[in-house]
Structures are given as C-alpha cells and as structure tokens.
Point group: C2
Chain length 262, copies 2
DNA sequence: GCAATAGTGTCTTTAAGACACTATCCC
DNA sequence: GGGATAGTGTCTTAAAGACACTATTGC
C-alpha cells in the first residue's frame, strides 16, 4: 500500500518543482502513466497497411486504435515496444527478427486520454515484411491490417490519427536515406519488388529502368543470390534475379523522391 | 488526498494490464514521473557548446546535468520544453523567438533515476544564437555553456551523456537537409559565419569558395540585405555582404557532409 | 607591402532523368 | 503472336569538388 498526496503539484511553481526534483522521498505528484503505441506498417496488395486493433472496452470502445499498452516496471521503452509487437502481430520469431523498430515520437498533450490519469505515450514505428495470414490478437481485441486509404475514413481512438500520420511521414523519409525498404520484403527479393515498396510508400510511379540502375549503383544496398524467380511476372516478362540485402544501412548516394527534387 | 494501491502492477500480466488499461478508475500503478531535458547547443569561440547546470541537491549533487524538469499537469511536452528553455537560458524574448526547438528522443530505462520513482524523460534539442553573456540560472543552480570537448572529460548526471550524444548526432544531420544552421547565427550574417557553423558542428574544414557558391545556389536559403559588415575580417580581407534567412526550411539540393560522400 | 579573406570562373567527375532498345516470359 | 516485364545503353542536365584567380581589407 503506497499513499501519495496530490496537493503540491500546481502550475506556478518553479520553486515547488525544484524542491520536488531534488528529493529522494516520494512526494506529491499527479497520477501519470506511460504507454507505448506502435505504428506497424506493411505492404499488402500493393498498398500500405497499418495494424489496428478494435477496442473492446472504454474509453473509445468499438473504435480502432494503434496497438500498444503500458510500459512494465522492469522494461526499457524499446523492450516494451518489442513485446507489444510480438504480442499483437503474432509473427513467428524468424519474421520478427527481420522487423525494423525505432522510436518515433512521444505524445503527452493533457487530455489526450480521457481517464483520470495523465498518459504519455511513446510511439514506435515498425516495418514488417509481408505476412499473408490475418493477425490474431492475443487479447479479446480484434486486430487487422487496414489500408492507409481506409484509415482516412475512420476515426481512430485517442490521438492515434496524428501518431499514424507522423509514422507514415517518417517512413517516407526513411526510405530515401536508409536501406529499410528491404524490411518490407522477404529475405530474397527482386528489384521490382523493391521498387514496389518505394512506389507504395511514396505514392508515386518510378521509372523501372532508372530505378534498377540506381539501386545497383549504391554500394552495399543489395547483393546477388545467383538465383532467379521460378516464373516470370503474372502478366509476362522474363524471370527476375533474386537479391538479398547487402549490409549497408545508409545509402550513398541517397534515393531521393522525385517530387522533392523538383 | 489521493490514495493509490501499488499491488497489482506486476510483470506477468497481459491480463492485468488489459484490465488496467480499460478502466476509468484510478488503479494500482507504480510511481511514475515525466520530465523534459534539454540539449541546448550554441557556438562560442568557434566551438560547439552545450548548456549544463550544476546540481545543488541529490541525486548527483555537484555533478553537471542537462537543464530540465518535470512536466506540469496542464502542459504539453513542447510547452514544458519551451518553458525550461526560457527559465534556464535567461534569453531575451527576441532571441528566444529565434531558437529552434524539437523533440529528440525519450529515455526510460529502469534505474536511470536512482530515486524511488520511475522517471521517463523526453529529451529536446535546441539551437541557440550566439549569446555573449554567461547564463544566469533562475534557481540556485549554477549554469554554464560548456564546450563539447570539455564534456567528454566530465561525468554527467543520470544518462545525460547518452542524451547529449544523441542530440549532437541529430544536429549534425539536421544541418544537411534543413536551413537550421541559421539558428546558430544572428538575424543577419555573412556566408563565412554560416560556413563556420557547419565547420564547427561537423568538425570539418569546408572549401570557402565552393561553400559560398553552394549556399547561393540553394533556392530560398539566404537573401541579401544589401548591407555589408562594417569592417573586414580580423586578420584582413574585404568586407563581407550580410544575408538573412530566405524562408526555406528544407534545402534542395542538400548540403551533404564531405565525409559522407566518400 | 604582406597576409588573409570575399567572392567568382572554370574544368572534371558523378549522378539523375529521359528515352530507346533487346531479351525473356505468360497467355 | 501480343503484351508485359527485366535489364542495359546512351544522351542531357544538374550538381559536387578541385583549382585558380581577382579584389578588398587589416596590420
């Protein structure tokens, strides 16, 4: 049983704050909680999708939200995000190892959570490879991959619409300077598949020939496996060579978006 | 008076967590606090400096730390960071308006604060123009601009050394793609002064002629004021034209670091 | 005068984009 | 065969870096 007073923590107080900051004794503070929320992106059917869960209880019961939850006492933030990622996606460990996860931004506007507890959320961004099966949530919650276009017509719980926007924007930038587009495809991929990642995330058509040459010219981006696809494309065309990631994390030169160059 | 039980919040509990997450009633949770800490960078004497405060009370009494403090109940995170910036730097409002401030990263490793309260800190990064006078702290705390080189020999409180590293790294990248180098200089500046910002932050010598032409070729980076400096350089040379920021936030093309192009 | 700096000119190399073209595959 | 795709070749333009050069100033 821990008893806490809630009196002193008022706004006008640089003095009160200094006093508070420098004591070892648990003192008055307002009830505060910290969660992690995940923007997990993947590509399905040539469209960008995000993992959402349907809330089964208030607040925002019945509405869709980003997966997430409270940070446990003995967890670091990244661990908490990794745990939620595992719990909510139901991915196998082999796939999980290939998921990219980075901290996105922290949101803490007063009132963003209607409960009588001030909740700060540390948003994380994840890139998942293609997973054919729909997600089975661990809790009673319903979980699904929703296309980004579809989320525009949905009202997401809390401030999750803003968090999602922030995540998509970060993802668009990440593709330019990093090799993270490979996180969206399988361990072996064709240059076309890689180009498709860029086209879907950026929402722009890229020139196949120039893209091919550009990717090949970046040192360490991709390396040949020696194999090719079993079949040609669905609508014709030759078999494509299969590549794997070449070990480089930063791209030199970068793959800049066409719209930004103008 | 608010009474809180501290029993239920143990590790093994996806169930407990779900139960907790979905209730309106204040329930059991461990004592948690959220602070903001600031990495405030400026340039003095052709070296990058960071604002540090000397702690007057435990924990880490007598050690140097990044300025910061608890987020107040009615504040958003950015507001809290802006308030701390104002309180700790003692800058005039006219200078304060020209300071750039952005969220950096959140740190929450268990045990990063030795007090019996789990403290998450949302780190912010700020770029301040040159301020001749040493800083007067508002609290009893001692505050000073410390050169980055000098901080290497200091043991900073908490995990502030890691936060500082993160901030410097972010700053180095920011200069490439944004016009934020102008945040380090006055409202009017010469191209040499701007080049000095890049050289100090990146720790590399740049070619004066090529830098000059490159800056002028970026649309909207700088615009002429029509004036020049009153005198030439300290060690000779003609008077330099004065420029102001041209309104562009993103640089096209970017000013890439020489070391990254190799 | 001497040294240092501001600013410009020019040349080479690299990379991006437009376009064309061949080879291979599905149907 | 027809249509689509994989991958390469070539040309033009933009931009980065190396180097040289002139003009202006402090001392």
């Amino acid at each position: 049983m821990l008893t806490l007073r809630n009196t002193q923590f008022e706004k006008d107080g640089a003095m009160e704050e200094a006093e508070w900051l420098n004591t070892y004794e648990p003192r008055a503070y307002p009830p505060v909680g910290v969660t992690v929320d995940l923007v997990i992106l993947t590509i399905r059917d040539k469209e960008l999708h995000v993992l959402l869960v349907e809330r089964g209880e208030p607040p925002f019961m019945g509405e869709w939200a980003l997966p997430g939850g409270f940070v446990q006492p003995d967890e670091d933030l990244h661990e908490a995000a990794a745990r939620e990622l595992k719990e909510e996606t139901g991915l196998r460990q082999s796939d999980l190892d290939r998921v990219y996860l980075e901290q996105l931004k922290t949101f803490g506007k007063p009132g963003r959570d209607p409960r009588p507890l001030r909740v700060f959320t540390v948003a994380y961004l994840a890139f998942a490879p293609q997973v054919p099966e729909p997600v089975a949530g661990t809790d009673a919650k319903n979980a699904a991959w929703i296309s980004l276009a579809a989320t525009r017509d949905m009202k997401l719980a809390f401030d999750h619409a803003a968090i999602l926007d922030e995540g998509v924007e970060r993802a668009r930038n990440k593709l330019e300077y990093s090799s993270l587009a490979t996180s969206f495809v399988g361990p072996e991929f064709t240059i076309s598949e890689l180009r498709n990642v860029y086209e879907v995330v950026w929402g722009e058509q890229l020139h196949p020939g120039n893209f091919h040459r550009k990717v090949m010219s970046v040192d360490g981006y991709v390396e040949e496996t020696g194999r090719t696809t079993e079949r040609g494309g669905e609508r014709g065309g030759p078999r494509a060579r299969l590549y794997r990631w070449g070990g480089a994390t930063q791209l030199h030169p970068a793959l800049l978006r066409p719209s930004e160059t103008t």
